[in-house]
Amino acid sequence: MDRRQFLKTTTAAVAAAGLGAAPWRSAMAQAGPIKIGLLAPLTGVVASGGKEMVEGVQFYLDQVKNEMGGRKVELTIEDDASNPDTALQKARRLVEQGNCHMLIGDLLANTGLAVANYVKGTGTPYFIPIIAADDLTQRARIKNVIRVAGYTASAFTHPFGDWALKQGYKRIATISQDYTFGHEQCGGLAQVFTEGGGEIVQQFWHPLNTADFSPYLGQLAELKVDAIFAMETGADSTRFIQQYASFGLKAKTPLLMAMNGTDQSVIRTIGEEAEGIISAAHFAEGSDKAVTAKFTKDYEAKYGKIPSLYGFSMYSGMMWIDAALKKMGGKVEDRDLFIDTVLKTELDGSPLGKAVKFDAYGNPVYDVTIRKVVKRADGKYWNVPTQTYPEVGQFWKYDPETYLKQPAYSRTFQGIKKA
């Protein structure tokens, strides 16, 4: 390479790099709108849920005409690709390059935990309406990571275990995807159920993306239990519900599922196989409360589908943040004040139909409903509440400090009381 050529190429390269950098730099450092960075898995294994997360946020912003706390909102959406490394990189981009005042979103626990660890260093407020990892509001709290309109995985299965006891069930088997979200949900149910005198006969853990459940279903049928609790998400849930029915188990053993198992994102693609499945959650799209009915109706009119938990949670999360911003006059730049205000703010007017507030650990306290999948007049299936446990916190009826001394739920620790 001669010198002239070298100069030419390097100049071109440097110029190209400069051109690429220019618009990014100039976009920085102008006050004005509130900048919100939304992280959602738009590609990868949970992409369908990610899309509904974005819809939930946009649905709220449309309603408030893109204005929160008296200031315009600038929303930047980034795809976390269902991958923690990508999520981390996108979070960096939103914070360091986009200068976002806050982050919200992520669906999979591992992506959320990666981002949470990153914002621990930067201090950026990060809101997690979907990430359910117990320890984020229990043993490993981070001040600026707040679960607005979110929930801890085991919070709803505690009352569910109690409900199962009251149905007179004595023996339950569980089947779950083998990862933390599953361990935590099963653990919640197993602990309350066994402490109340029930027996967890056997627990099955299967890898994510299991195509064929017949080996598990065969064993489950042999166990002769009173009920089966299944913790499945996404396509696994669809397949499980279908195969459970075609195996003939539906007619014999009642099926209880984690709330994500009978979420709209799952049951809208299947039919009567889902009918009658019981689950426990804070939100039931089939509730006859006026606010819930209106939310469901409006959402359906706009997006052509009944809202899922993803849409609902993101929508309510945005509402919660907005309420806090209104209280403090939109001064989102004062991070400490912002975080404190959010934690002191109640969520009012959400589709839940009841005000919600945080406990001392930054986890919302909900009325938990027991829901049943039923057929709507137009032939679609949805979750209708049958019973309510009022004011359920993440520690159920346990003393928080004692509870926190026991290990986090895992495959090896399910809180099962030895008979």
């Binding site: 690429g20 950098a21 990014w24 980034e78 626990a109 591992n110 935990l113 990666a114 990862y179």
Partner: protein
């Protein structure tokens, strides 16, 4: 490191001609000036480019010089990341010790891979390394008590001294310069020449009396050592590790970076890493279909520059000069 190994003292650096040393020095100096013109986030990206450049280079040692493309290097890389995060976050070891243990663990895993894989070549080598990598991934995913399962592990891995974007970038740059030089020396050594001989004709090398499996074994292990360095740096970069770091996609990405840069060009790895990371970041800002764009770009590179970006540039330049 206090001294730049590329500094123009050619008489001390055997094999590095005056011109090569000058070019290397210019590149390193230009690279070390980057943080002054880039935003913090872009410095982060540049750091990532360097780390993945090292990984792609380590793959190139095998692919470009021994004729064996490994799909297991992402796993070796990830083992180092896991060990470093585990040692600092769970075992409370100081960063330097964790770093050393991480690289050591990666080298050990590479040695095991090498034992199993050196007797194969071509597509069998590819498949065997792929399978071995999948085993590592499976272990990381299922051994929840130690690896944290799907959720992975977090911790403050990066030493306090390097917390700033710029400081860390310079540290990684220094590391990259050292290992690049080491790899360059390695492939140009008589040992590296033997590897090239094996690439070109294994049977001839054998009949000349060379112990082919032993050479490949050492080559693989050394390559794994460098992948381990990259993985350990990645642990400090992210302060986080999860099974996606050891997944097949990681290995594939490393191989793609190496191919895009140019197989057998060694330093092309950095060009490939820069091209892919930049593309990922720029395109994903505009469309969620960025993976499609990435795919099309690859197809185009394969059609119009099968020798990789660096290889193509080199050919074009040498043609013009002539």
């Amino acid at each position: 490191m206090t001294m730049d190994p590329h500094a123009p003292r050619p008489s001390l650096l055997a094999g590095l001609t005056g011109r090569a040393a000058a070019i290397a020095a210019v590149v390193v100096i230009a690279a070390s000036g980057l943080p002054l013109v880039l935003s913090n986030y872009q410095v982060g990206l540049a750091t990532e480019v360097l780390i993945f450049g090292i990984l792609a280079m380590s793959i190139d040692i095998l692919a470009g010089f021994a004729g064996r493309t490994s799909l297991g290097h992402g796993a070796i890389f990830g083992v180092a990341t896991y060990v470093v995060v585990y040692c600092t976050a769970q075992a409370g070891l100081p960063p330097v010790a964790s770093f050393a243990l991480g690289v050591l663990a990666a080298t050990a895993v590479a040695a095991v891979f090498a034992l199993l894989a050196v007797r194969t070549s071509g597509v069998y080598f590819l498949l065997l390394t792929l399978a071995l990598g999948m085993i590592v991934w499976g272990v990381c995913l299922r051994w929840t008590q130690v690896t944290g399962g799907e959720n992975g592990m977090r911790g403050d891995v990066r030493p306090v001294l390097l917390l700033g974007h710029h400081a860390f970038y310079w540290a990684v740059l220094a590391g990259a310069a050292i290992v690049s030089f080491a790899m360059w020396r390695f492939v140009r050594s008589p040992f590296g020449l033997t590897l090239r001989g094996i690439r070109d004709s294994e049977s001839r090398m054998r009949s000349l009396g060379y112990n082919v499996p032993l050479h490949l074994f050492i080559g693989f292990t050394v390559s794994g050592f460098f992948a381990g360095v990259a993985g350990a740096l990645y642990a400090m970069f992210n302060n986080f590790v999860s099974p996606s770091t050891v997944a097949l996609a990681q290995s594939v990405e490393g191989v793609l970076m190496m191919i895009a840069g140019g197989v057998g060009t060694l330093f092309g790895a950095f060009v490939g890493a820069a091209a892919i990371i930049a593309l990922e970041n720029v395109v994903s800002a505009y469309t969620e279909r960025w993976q499609m764009v990435l795919g099309v770009t690859f197809v185009l590179i394969m059609i119009f520059a099968p020798e990789g970006i660096t290889g193509k540039l080199r050919n074009m330049l040498s043609r013009k000069v002539r």
